[in-house]
């Protein structure tokens, strides 16, 4: 057997084109398909019968699966209000296992059928040229005839005006997308209208109370103990209608108290805190996730999305992670009743950087 291909005269690998030359392409010639090995079921009718039975058992299992699905669907029934979770999991399990069995039964049965009983002779088919030279000549000839008949080459005026028209015609279909941002139509406040300017402003302004998120209760400076952190929203946010989440997305603040002596304060910001109570924007300056993790001992703020870490003792400067600038600080003070209020809006835009931020 081995010698036949090796001596290489019976099987010229003429079919291996692209080689071009007469020299043999590989160390031995293509020995052709290996001989077919009959399977058990090909020769033994008993084995074939056995395979037939196995396949139909799989199909029966599939039927059992479908029945199981209906047991889960009607047997477990509708989930009532506040009913135990276990019922939902049981139903989901029965429906899923039923479907799985129904599908597996058919799938494995059919594949087993194909593998044991259907012919397994490998067959050979020729490949054809993807494009023949004759076709190419005919097609290009046809195209030049078509172009000639259309006269588009002879009449450049036609061609140029058509190009101009075709370039302009799609523009309306781009322009109609302008109102994807239809905020002008809704908002009566100039600051919320179309354009980047609205990103500079939040609800915070002089005298706006800091209240707890989400209850809306005001915060006394004396209530904020050393080491604590409070999630804060501006007073009045909860009364907003449809605009609530848009405003909340910019205005959320984290309030923390620590020993003011530990903080390096830049000149001009000395009175932005109230006895070591600092208010910082909770919106990450990286891509805008809420920075919800405060590590009391190190005074670090960590964004759970991409792990940007801000150091409260350095005015929330970035000390690790992908954010590239510090969290904006909200200047705060106390009002006559001892509640924390904002001195003004943030002095810079909050959240992720955008082109017009400046």
């Amino acid at each position: 057997m081995g010698e036949k291909g090796f001596e290489g005269t019976e099987h010229r690998s003429g079919s291996l084109e692209h080689a071009g030359e007469d020299a043999p392409r590989y160390a031995i010639d293509n020995p052709g398909l290996p001989p077919h090995r009959p399977r058990l079921a090909d020769e033994d009718p008993k084995a074939a019968k056995r395979a037939e039975r196995q396949v139909s058992v799989m199909f029966l299992i599939s039927i059992v699966g479908t029945v199981l699905f209906f047991i889960g669907y009607f047997g477990v029934g509708q989930i009532g209000n506040g009913e135990a979770f276990s019922k939902i999991y049981l139903q989901n399990l029965l429906l899923g296992l039923g479907t799985a069995l129904a599908m597996f039964g058919i799938g494995i049965g059919v594949v087993h059928w194909a593998k044991t009983l259907m012919p397994d002779h490998e067959t050979v088919e020729d490949r054809h040229e993807i494009r023949s030279e004759d076709d190419r000549v005919a097609a290009t000839g046809m195209i030049s005839e078509i172009l000639d008949e259309s006269q588009i080459k002879r009449r450049p005026l036609l061609r140029n005006t058509l190009i101009g028209a075709a370039l302009l015609a799609p523009l309306p279909f781009i322009a109609v997308f302008r109102d994807l941002d239809d905020s002008d139509n809704f908002s009566d406040q100039e600051a919320h209208n179309f354009g980047p300017e609205r990103l500079r402003h939040t609800m915070w302004a002089e005298g706006v109370r800091l209240v707890r998120d989400p209850t809306g209760s005001p915060i006394k400076a004396s209530d904020v103990t050393l080491g604590s952190a409070v999630h804060v929203i501006p007073d009045g946010l909860n009364d907003l209608g449809p605009d609530k989440l848009n405003q909340k997305a910019k205005a959320v603040v984290l309030l923390m108290r620590l020993d003011p002596a530990k903080v390096k304060i830049t000149p001009g910001r000395e009175d932005w805190n109230v006895d070591g109570i600092f208010a910082y924007s909770k919106v990450c300056t990286h891509v805008g996730c809420p920075i919800a993790l405060y590590e009391q001992h190190t005074h670090h703020l960590l964004c759970p999305c991409h792990q940007s870490t801000f150091d409260l003792t350095q005015e929330c400067k970035v000390i690790f992670g992908p954010a590239s600038h510090a969290l904006p600080q909200l200047p705060i003070t106390v009002d006559d009743e001892g509640y924390l209020v904002a001195q003004s809006d943030f002095h810079e835009p909050v959240g992720p950087v955008y082109w017009e931020r400046g």
């Binding site: 081995g2 291909g5 290489g8 079919s15 291996l16 084109e17 692209h18 590989y26 031995i28 293509n30 509708q78 209000n81 506040g82 939902i88 429906l95 899923g96 479907t99 799985a100 599908m103 597996f104 799938g107 494995i108 059919v110 594949v111 059928w113 194909a114 397994d120 490998e122 050979v124 088919e125 020729d126 490949r127 993807i130 994807l180 941002d181 239809d182 990103l199 989400p214 997305a249 959320v252 909770k282 990450c284 990286h286 891509v287 805008g288 996730c289 809420p290 919800a292 759970p304 999305c305 940007s308 970035v318 992670g321 992908p322 590239s324 959240g351 992720p352 955008y354 082109w355 400046g358």
Partner: protein, 564 residues
Amino acid sequence: MSTTVNEFQPATTTGRIANFVDTRMGMSPIVKFFGRKIFPDHWTFMFGEVALYSFVILLLSGAFLTLFFDPSMSEVVYDGAYAPLRGIEMSAAYASTLDISFDVRGGLFMRQLHHWAALMFVAAMSVHMLRVFFTGAFRRPRELNWLVGCFLLMAGWAAGFTGYSLPDEVLSGNGLRIIDGILKSLPLVGTYLSAFFFGGEFPGHSVIGRLYALHIMIVPAAILLLIGIHLFMVVVHKHTQYPGPGRTEDNVVGYPVGPVYAAKAGGFFFIVFGVLALIASTVTINANWNYGPYDPSPVQAGTQPDWYIGVFDGALRLMPGMIGDYSFLWNIPMPWGSSVSLPMGVLVPLIPVGVLLVGMCTWPWIERWITKDNTEHHLLDRPRNAPARTGIGVAAVVWYCVMWAAASSDLIATHFRLSLNDVLYVLRALFFLGPVIAFIVTRRICLSLQRKDRELVLHGHEAGVIEMSPEGGFHERHRQLTDYELYRLVSFEDRRPVPAIPGRNGKVGMLEKARAGLNRMFYQDRVAPVSREELVEARTHGQHGHEEHPVELEHGSHAPHLDR
């Protein structure tokens, strides 16, 4: 016009129906064309099928979900079966998601089936592409079909992301928030892109409806169209096949569609369906009733995006925003006084992802340019026989996996009790070193495997039998390979380096120099297939071990590995 005189008259009812259709639509030629069409069979050809079937299951389960899902961001008060959230204000989208899970029988199963099928769809496409890449199946004439495949993969990501964002709970809302941050970071147009996408400020009231239109119509329509083109081209090209005895560049060896291939492929659809149903029934995915309605304030630690989004998220995490006191926020003053902001911390991570995507789409042309190989290939490469390509592929996979792992940096740190910062430092180092090491190691492994193949061809299998010659020397007997085994090992192309070719002006341009350099890298330490002369030489002058028949193993012959 009595054409009816000689017309075929079927005898049975089925025959009459079939004949009716045939005479109006001309089905006979189609049956003739496909009925016995040959498809090569190999287990690695299965992944594309898995992707296709997952997509069919996505369409089926997705159609069910659309009947119950309400893509609206209007506020409602939840009043469904899930007690912990009753009485809470939420969007209609989230409320209907909860209803699908708890109030619609089978809804939870369909949701989980849909989600798992989506993960499987993208995973199967990815593995399918790796198979196509490593076996060189993208080469002429299949470059365009590779490109269609790349678009399909990206469309799969888009379908996944738009679907992931629909339920409008805290997790998906934070995903959208990240998209908002990335959009805003884009120079010049970013702020407006974000405003157009969200209908004003984030989160707005429009985005769920828009994502829904994308998710159930635009993206699936694109995927269907691309699948149509993809399969059409498979028929035009006919399937590739692995090299082996009986297989040539001019034939297709395999099983006919009817009945074997149709039965196997059709049966396989049900098996894929069964696997997904089994997972959907036993493994909870996206238990979004735990998260609560979207609110810009809360967030959960340790959340993960769907796996295929990980690479983007990981790239974002790897980039440092500041090095020491140097910030990657670039404020560039403009001549008219104001300045513009470029957050390079967000923009730079888009580069490696872009390189991966563009490199993937253009690879068939890049490789053709480097190797100058413009011949048609219908026989696949064994990965070892294209060491440089295999090396580059593994390098890209490693690069991808480093970015992907970075998306779980926090979970890696908590699971293995490591410092979060250290995990990221190591991943940053691997981002640069990983692909280089992977390329070198993979290429060396390929070359070694090729040498092993040569060894096998020239000297045969070690039989594990030690013989002593009359002179007292020892050698191990070798069993000669059969022709079928032999042909598989020797029948690969002997590709040779193509040095720099001077241009029309007789000079070698910069680009051509670069090409020649890459070409050298491709063929460095090239292992040629065994030639006819070498084989003759080995067989005729080889000292020992070229028996034509398998050696009977002697009882208890556990011979150590000795040299010939």
